[in-house]
């Protein structure tokens, strides 16, 4: 297959290893070391994609990460299709399957190309002007039914895979003295210098081979050896050092504060048969003492009419394909050279056997140092000329040469037949990562580019080589070596590398060259199909800031982020506005530098590991019983325990009935628990909670209400005094961490004088609630060393004792309104004690109940749930808890706020009960409460329903609500408007069952 398009030898491909692959179903062959792009070109394939908007045939523009056109989908099997990959970066392996994108029915005959006929419709601002007017929004059927589906189908990139990603992704943190980003001449030299000084070095580069631009050089010699051999030796030296980590195939894509850099390493995508257990990619999060940015530069296209035909590519790319991959992209080339890389390309192509028809230099005074060599090779050089038109449907076939005249107009001349056009528009330093690190850029007239000027505070970094405008192999090596020395705090050695055949002029031109004939398009942003005309239109329509022009025309907003187009776009806008480039400004560079897979970012945080799950000691039992679970924070809680044939409603009704008539048991282990200990423990709680604790007797409990300083309820729970200096504080399930944090805050910063220690004990205790008239009978045979009789152990008390021989804290408390106990045992004994209690519960006709029944039972008693009856704007008085406030207290957190004018005014929302006129109707939680029937839209609500259930005990529905001046409305009728009509409700006190608490004290 050393066919028409392979050179006779040389390059870095292994011509002994043939690889077969398919593109759009057709079989081809390439060599080991090829990229998909080089292998396609070696087979004479230039047409690889259709453009985004106009569906124009597109070829391969570049040889690197900046590629805007050659986007392909690589299919590695089920769930493993990766869209929008740059063919210039996809490494060839045997059996690779690639498809082109954005074409239908086929790449060669694409129906969407008719878009070109309507192209006036698709000019800058088309979407805004046509469809975004208020007149059209929401009501325009044509937009929704015709235009949007059509445009969505016609304009687009590859399709995202629809199956779950079967691959595994890894994540690693790393620290180093010097992180060198980019392994071209500057990066390699920097790494060598830093490694020589003994530093821990990480050197990363997005390519499979380290060496960067040196891999594309043919005649350059460094210190007496060919560039390619020098690279091999440098890499050997670095690899031999145990303090150097080499990361090829690794893209530095994000640069954050304090030298924190994110790298994406590709591990298996280049392999035909990867180990299925191996991770596909790895995210590196590197904290570097120093960073050396050696990110190089990117060549710019030249903007001339119809500059997008397949076969037209950057000079740097042509040199890379010829020198590195041994591929001749064309047989007869025309070179447009605005800097040395174009002349060098002409020489390289000529040497490799491509006929170079002509070199044209659009600069009026263009005179490259290489022009003599080019002429000596017998190639015609035209200075001050440009391309005014191109021909060729699926591949360029000829260009028309014109003389550059005044005002950018060119007089048109002869047509030159060719199948390959090479353009060298000048080089743009890759300042993306520098800019991401918040460094400031400044325009350099000298380099005709934005260059790093001021490093952001907190970053320790330096740029070296082409990314800071230091061009040419020799200068980049010297600059990189000095940067590597400086990064480890060493003086430059003044080391210089001896380089032959170096080129030095990389400035080029920017902007538009030659207006085309009617109907032609001079592309600036190839990936988003933005033309010179679009940019001029935006400027004409009054857009002045480049950020606005960018959004209006979408230039630079495609997946390549305008790597090849931004400076040309800026120059065209600046020229049209008659302003210098730096006054028009530069658009922001954002992470990621190139697209990063979601898999790499998510890493192991998917499926079961996406979010941690907390399970109680009794969880396995509940699962075995067939409980349905609900998520409460990170906890899995048993929601209800359906028996055969029961739905949720019947299960909850049975559970509630059983608790009220016999006994039920409930897993309350998720309750937050904090041990508050110390000589000042009581005083501390006194200052935090609204209640009094100083006078609470040992062995007694109190229902505590916690406010924030603004006076609003943020948590509640029973607090038991275990000893004079020890309290067992419980919090809501969701509030445990928040309450401990708040307590720590006050203990450390506001009341540091108090001697008190706080310990979270949530996970140390399993909590089994036993509730119902038979609760004491259930526990009596299990406890020892403790009297749980009514006289000795009244409601709201706590005792230490043993249950099933296990030390326990036994609380007599009730969240159901029934006689109740909460048994706290060390978590390790939780499951066994639960089983023992369960055996007793069964003897008394009892059941296990879940959180839904718990909610119903407490609502029947009017007990609030923080976060359901409260929403951060509710005071104790609002929910009828004013009684809990300790008498005569001078201060507690939030107390002062309770006397602010807004807290004592009338009209505050207060907790009430609601009974629907139709007892079978259960209200919707969250529905609004109003006064009149059929309220017109905009009627302010008096409040809302906070809880609503079917009450089995009352044989009717019940609801709790927060209603303005609710307590004065008791006995009146209000209305809950619903989509199916008004629901009449009577306002009642919020205690529906046993208001005197007789069951509780049984």
């Amino acid at each position: 297959m050393a066919g028409l398009h392979r050179t006779n030898g040389g390059g870095r491909v292994d011509r002994t290893k043939r690889l077969s692959f398919t593109f759009d179903g057709k079989a081809y062959e390439g060599f080991a070391g090829d990229k998909l792009a080089s292998a396609l070109l070696a087979n004479g394939v230039h047409l690889v994609g259709r453009s985004y908007k106009y569906h124009r045939p597109r070829g391969i523009l570049s040889a690197g990460a900046e590629e805007p056109n050659a986007l392909v989908t690589v299919d590695r099997g089920r769930g493993r299709t990766a869209p929008n990959l740059r063919a210039t970066q996809v490494e060839l392996y045997d059996g690779l399957v690639a498809e082109s994108q954005n074409r239908w029915p086929s790449l060669a005959y694409d129906f969407g190309a008719v878009n070109s006929l309507f192209s006036p419709l698709l000019a800058a601002g088309f979407y805004y002007k046509t469809f975004m007017g208020p007149r059209l929004l929401g009501s325009n059927w044509a937009w929704h039914k015709i235009y949007e589906p059509l445009i969505r189908r016609a304009a687009g990139l590859g399709k995202a895979p629809s199956l779950p990603d079967p691959d595994r992704y890894a994540n690693r943190f790393a620290h180093c003295d010097v992180l060198v980003i980019g392994a071209g001449p500057a990066g390699l030299a920097a790494a060598l210098a830093a490694a020589e000084a003994g530093a821990r070095v990480i050197l990363c580069d997005e390519q499979a081979e380290l060496g960067g631009s040196l891999l594309s050089e043919w005649s350059v010699e460094i210190d007496g050896v060919p560039a390619s051999s020098w690279v091999d030796e440098a890499v050997r030296t670095l690899a031999a050092s145990s303090r150097v980590t080499l990361l090829p195939r690794t893209q530095a894509f994000g640069y954050f504060a304090q030298n924190f850099v994110a790298l994406a390493e590709r591990l298996t995508d280049h392999l035909g048969n990867p180990d299925p257990a191996a991770p596909r990619e790895r995210l590196w999060q590197v904290r570097a003492k120093e960073v050396v940015l050696a990110t190089g530069a990117i060549e710019r296209p030249i903007v001339f009419p119809d500059n997008d035909r397949p076969g037209i590519m950057l000079a740097d790319a042509a040199r890379t394909y010829v020198n590195r991959y041994g591929v001749r992209p064309g047989l007869r080339a025309v070179v447009i050279a605005a800097c040395d890389s174009g002349y060098a390309a002409a020489l390289d192509l000529h040497r490799a056997g491509t006929a170079v028809a002509m070199v044209i230099d659009p600069r009026a005074n263009g005179d490259s140092g290489l022009a003599g060599s080019v002429r000596a090779a017998g190639i015609e050089v035209q200075i001050g000329a440009t391309v005014t038109a191109t021909r060729g449907s699926q591949r360029v076939s000829a260009v028309q040469i014109g003389r550059a005249g005044t005002e950018g107009r060119a007089s048109t001349g002869e047509w030159v037949p060719c199948d390959h056009v090479v353009m060298a528009g000048g080089w743009t330093p890759s300042v993306h990562l520098f800019s991401q690190s918040r460094g400031k850029l400044a325009w350099s007239d000298d380099a005709q580019a934005f260059l790093p000027s001021a490093i952001a505070p907190g970053q320790a970094q330096r740029s070296a080589g082409a990314c800071r405008g230091v061009f040419g192999v020799a200068a980049a090596l010297d600059d990189g070596f000095a940067a590597g020395r400086a990064a480890v705090g060493r003086e430059p050695l003044g080391r210089t590398f001896k380089v032959t055949h170096d080129i030095t002029d990389f400035r080029g031109i920017a902007g538009s060259h030659g207006a085309g004939a009617r109907g032609s398009k001079a592309f600036v942003d190839f990936q988003h199909d933005v033309t010179v005309r679009d940019l001029k239109l935006a400027a004409q329509e009054g857009f002045r800031a480049i950020e606005h022009v960018k959004r209006y025309t979408t230039t630079g907003m495609a997946t390549d982020q305008g790597k090849t187009s931004n400076i040309n776009a800026l120059a065209i806008v600046a020229d049209h506005l008659g302003k210098p480039i730096p006054e028009v400004g530069l658009t922001t560079f954002r992470q990621p530098y190139t697209p990063v897979t979601f898999g790499t970012i998510a890493g192991a945080s998917r499926g079961d590991l996406f979010d941690p799950v907390r399970r109680t000691p009794c969880d396995a039992w509940a699962q075995a019983q067939g409980a349905m679970f609900e998520d409460v924070g990170a906890w899995k809680r048993a929601h209800y325990f359906p028996q055969a044939g029961e739905d949720m409603h019947t299960a909850v009704a049975r559970e509630c009935r059983t608790v009220r008539s016999a006994v039920g048991m409930f897993d309350a282990s998720t309750l937050g628990k904090i041990e508050v200990v110390g000589p000042d423990a009581a005083e501390f709680l006194e200052r935090l909670y609204i209640n009094s604790f100083q006078k609470l007797g040992v062995g007694r409990c109190r229902y505590g209400v916690l406010l924030n300083e603004a006076g609003f309820i943020i948590d509640d729970g029973v607090i038991g005094r275990i000893a004079a200096d020890r309290f067992h504080v419980t919090t809501t399930t969701g509030g445990a961490a928040r309450v401990l944090h708040m307590m720590e805050d006050y203990a450390q910063t506001e009341f540091p004088d108090l001697k008190v220690w706080l310990t979270s004990t949530t996970e140390q205790w399993a909590v089994i609630a036993v509730q119902g008239p038979r609760a004491r009978d259930v526990l009596a045979p299990l406890v020892d060393g403790v009297d749980i009789g009514a006289t000795d152990f009244p409601h709201m008390s706590v005792k230490a004792g043993r249950i099933c021989g296990v030390d326990a804290r036994i609380f007599r408390v009730s969240f159901t309104g029934e006689l109740g106990f909460e048994i706290n045992v060390p978590a390790d004994f939780g499951a066994d004690v639960w089983e023992a209690v369960w055996r007793e519960v069964q003897k008394h006709g009892g059941c296990a109940y879940g959180t839904e029944s718990m909610h119903v039972l407490r609502a029947e008693k009017g007990f609030i749930i923080v976060g359901q009856e409260t929403d951060g704007t509710v005071t104790p008085d609002d929910v009828g808890l004013g009684w809990a406030t300790g008498k005569g207290k001078r201060d507690f957190v939030g107390m002062r706020s309770l006397s602010r004018p807004d807290m004592v005014r009338s009209g505050r929302k207060q907790l009430v009960g609601l009974l629907t006129a139709d007892p079978k109707r259960v209200l919707e939680e969250g529905s609004q409460v109003v006064e009149g029937l059929r309220p017109p839209a905009g009627t302010p609500a008096l409040g809302h329903v906070t809880s609503a259930y079917w009450s089995e005990a009352l044989g009717r529905s019940i609801a709790l609500a927060l209603v303005a001046d609710g307590r004065t409305r008791i006995g009146t009728r209000l209305n809950v408007p619903m989509p199916d009509g008004d629901v009449a409700v009577d306002v009642v006190t919020p205690v529906f069952l046993d208001p005197k608490g007789e069951r509780l004290n049984g």
Partner: protein, 100 residues
């Protein structure tokens, strides 16, 4: 991710070990009952929100658990100094801590 130097642990640790806790040096009045409505509202709600240096509270919640204060530049996001809770806001004469 910022690196923050805990003044108790005396070591720079990643931001994910810490929890932010709002502006520093807003002491709770010793006798809230004697504070006027306006002053109490200011204590509750009014914050300086500066462009530039901001004294703020952090807690080394996944480390030693202690609260401390930091001087952070809200423009550059640089933490210039950290110091124990209860000590006065320092000047910036000494070499900056926390950032580099």
């Amino acid at each position: 991710m910022l690196l923050i130097t805990c003044p108790y642990c005396c070591t720079a640790r990643p931001e994910s070990e810490f929890r932010y806790s709002g502006e520093a040096h807003i002491a709770r009045p010793l006798e809230p009952a004697t504070v006027s409505d306006d002053d109490w509202a200011a204590f509750l709600y009014m914050r300086t929100n500066p462009k530039g240096l901001h004294a703020e509270r952090w807690r080394h919640i996944h480390g030693c658990g202690r609260f401390f204060n930091a001087l952070r530049n809200t423009v550059t996001d640089q933490i210039l100094k950290t110091y124990p809770a209860g000590t006065p806001r320092p000047g910036l004469g000494a070499p900056a801590e926390g950032g580099r």
